[in-house]
């Protein structure tokens, strides 16, 4: 009986997805079928429908529609265009330059918004078309965008680190924030290195050496657009608004700039632009909502414990245990979103980790780095879905191009796991640890 529910859940899900049912509906249907084994069918239908509403009842999720809308406005309104001109002038001579710009923008954006999907939407939505124009294949750009947008969950402020701190109990948020910098930046750099290798091999375009006159013109032209980043960052750091609220302010600023300053968007275009972003928003949010329903069924059927118990029975050596924990978490990340995974697995794994002498701060960073990778994998991968929707690249076409970047991220995960100092050096430097 124990393995029946997970077998039905995953079996029906894969069948539905590969026969072409939209992912959101596949998730919902498999949750109902599997849930039917543990609760009356009418009850489980009511619960899955409840999660479709209450799963979205989180203020932090507002960052998704706002940054999607801001992204569409920036694309149509000339802001993105000016920012890319600027970045081309700055790093255009490096191999695969626009890819690096995308990574850096994601690190910056993700760090302030604290949301991987928001970064993927805003940065990817802007960079994607420009990279295409410059001759990069859309699949390559989208792969870079998806795998680098997760860095903002490590670079503070980050809500998932707070969730870990609170779930773990007795772990300082300030220490965790400090501990997240190096691993987060490391992940971004590893994507850039891999991007440079691939670009050089495939001969992706490098821009010509610009004249000084051109540089000055481009920089001046980009100042109002650059102000968007300053307003968002300054507003958050200056305590004017929260990271979630910043996303709405970004919309307002992008709107004013595109419509009234640059005049590249006409008022009568606005309904179409807004509806475009509603479509992207709905596609992403319904996936979030239904996957929360699916993880409810998983938790209710004790699937997390089932998997953990059978795998942890394998060894007592710390190294093997850490490897096993990482493998379990990677698998978990494939099927579950970050927040439920943290809530469920922190209490399960933290005692094991402390038992073998691991620091809770180090463990939390390792866990978040690990689960970040899961955000880029189907079937449950918010970052992946957002990256696909804004770029128009199909999920299955993205898997191949993402593989080298997964390799980079796995190397980072191995480093973060094996070298506690990567996480703990900064906190101890600032006397927080």
């Amino acid at each position: 009986m124990d393995w029946l529910v997970p077998a039905v859940l995953f079996g029906s899900f894969f069948f539905l997805v590969f026969t072409g049912i939209p992912i959101a509906f596949s998730l919902g249907i498999s949750a109902v079928i599997a849930g039917g084994f543990i609760l009356p069918v009418d009850v489980i239908m009511a619960i899955v429908s409840q999660k479709m509403v209450s799963g979205l009842d989180r203020f932090a999720l507002l960052a998704i529609p706002f940054f999607i809308l801001a992204g569409v406005l920036m694309n149509n309104g000339g802001i993105a265009h000016r920012l890319i001109n600027l970045s081309q002038v700055l790093v255009g001579r490096m191999p695969g330059s626009l890819g690096h710009v995308n990574v850096m923008a994601n690190m910056l954006f993700g760090s302030i918004s604290g949301s991987s999907s928001a970064a993927a939407a805003a940065v990817g939505g802007t960079m994607g078309p420009l990279q295409k124009q410059a001759g990069f294949p859309p699949e390559y750009s989208a792969a870079i965008n998806v795998t680098s947008c997760i860095t903002g969950l490590l670079i503070p402020p980050s809500n998932v680190l707070i969730i870990y701190a609170v779930t773990a109990g007795g772990v300082s948020v300030a220490t965790l924030f400090m501990a997240g910098y190096v691993p987060g930046i490391l992940m971004g750099l590893s994507i850039m290195v891999m991007g440079a290798i691939i670009s050089k091999k495939r001969g992706y375009p490098v821009s010509e050496r610009p004249t000084l006159e051109h540089v000055i013109k481009v920089v001046l032209d980009a100042i109002p657009s650059l102000l968007l980043i300053f307003i968002v960052m300054g507003g958050i750091l200056g305590g004017v608004f929260t990271a979630t609220e910043a996303s709405a302010i970004a919309v307002v600023y992008a709107f004013v700039l595109s419509v009234f300053v640059y005049g590249e968007i006409k008022m009568h275009d606005m309904p179409r632009i807004i509806l475009d972003s509603v479509v992207t928003t709905a596609i992403v949010l319904v996936l979030v909502a239904v996957s929360i329903g699916m993880s409810w069924v998983m938790t209710r059927a004790d699937i997390p414990y089932l998997i953990t118990d059978s795998l942890l029975a394998m060894s007592e050596s710390p190294l093997v245990l850490l490897l096993v924990i990482n493998v379990i978490l990677l698998i978990v990340g494939v099927f579950m979103d970050m927040t439920p995974a943290l809530l469920i697995f922190t209490p399960i794994f933290l005692p094991v980790a402390t038992e073998i002498g691991m620091d809770p701060v180090h463990f939390g960073i390792m866990m978040v780095v690990n689960l970040c990778i899961g955000l880029c994998t189907p079937p449950v991968g918010t970052a992946l879905f957002v990256g696909c929707s804004v770029s128009g690249v199909k999920v299955q076409d993205l898997i191949g191009p993402m593989m080298p970047f997964f390799l980079s991220l796995l190397v980072c995960l191995a480093l973060v796991t094996a070298l506690p100092q990567l996480s703990l050096f900064l906190p101890s430097l600032f006397g927080l640890h």
């Binding site: 539905l16 997805v17 590969f18 026969t19 072409g20 049912i21 939209p22 992912i23 959101a24 509906f25 919902g28 249907i29 109902v32 009418d42 239908m45 009511a46 619960i47 899955v48 429908s49 409840q50 479709m52 509403v53 979205l56 009842d57 989180r58 203020f59 999720l61 507002l62 529609p65 706002f66 809308l69 004017v240 608004f241 979630t244 609220e245 996303s247 709405a248 302010i249 919309v251 307002v252 309904p271 807004i274 509806l275 972003s277 509603v278 479509v279 928003t281 709905a282 596609i283 949010l285 319904v286 996936l287 909502a289 189907p378 879905f385 696909c388 929707s389 199909k394 999920v395 299955q396």
Partner: protein
Amino acid sequence: MLTGKYRRALDKTIGTICTVLMVLLVVCVTWQVFSRYILNQPSTFTDELARFSMIWTALLGTAYCVGTQQHLAIDLLTSSLKGRKKFFNEIYINATILGFAAFVMVFGGLKLLITVHESNQLSPAMQIPMSFIYIVLPLSGAITCLYSTVHLIQAIKNFANPELAEAASKES
């Protein structure tokens, strides 16, 4: 059953509602910042109103995307299908979506809505009935049913007469 101007009117209505809700979202959160930082008198209802509007936007938007067939799917297998097999697959997909919408969103949603309505549950900040929020489930479910039925009927017609459908797809 739902073609031509009626279909366009439905698309237009849902699209407009979603657009208005999206604007409301931006206005709500901007006002929240403005009232707190400039007026020094934080608004106490915008947080809740924004969350509820987002739920409505997302679920109505979900139905809209069923209509425009824009939901994310993995069409690895289905894109290789041709002729009658392709139409059979479309019948299967739309019937499955119809089933989910009818059983989970409409039936499950109504079951939930009735309990929430009967227990007079109120939202904490605005003190409005929570049934106003949950009603979007059966509503969005019903619209999804409508759209998937239209697609289902079209797929059945195509399945019954593949030559005609192929000719039609070449024209457009």
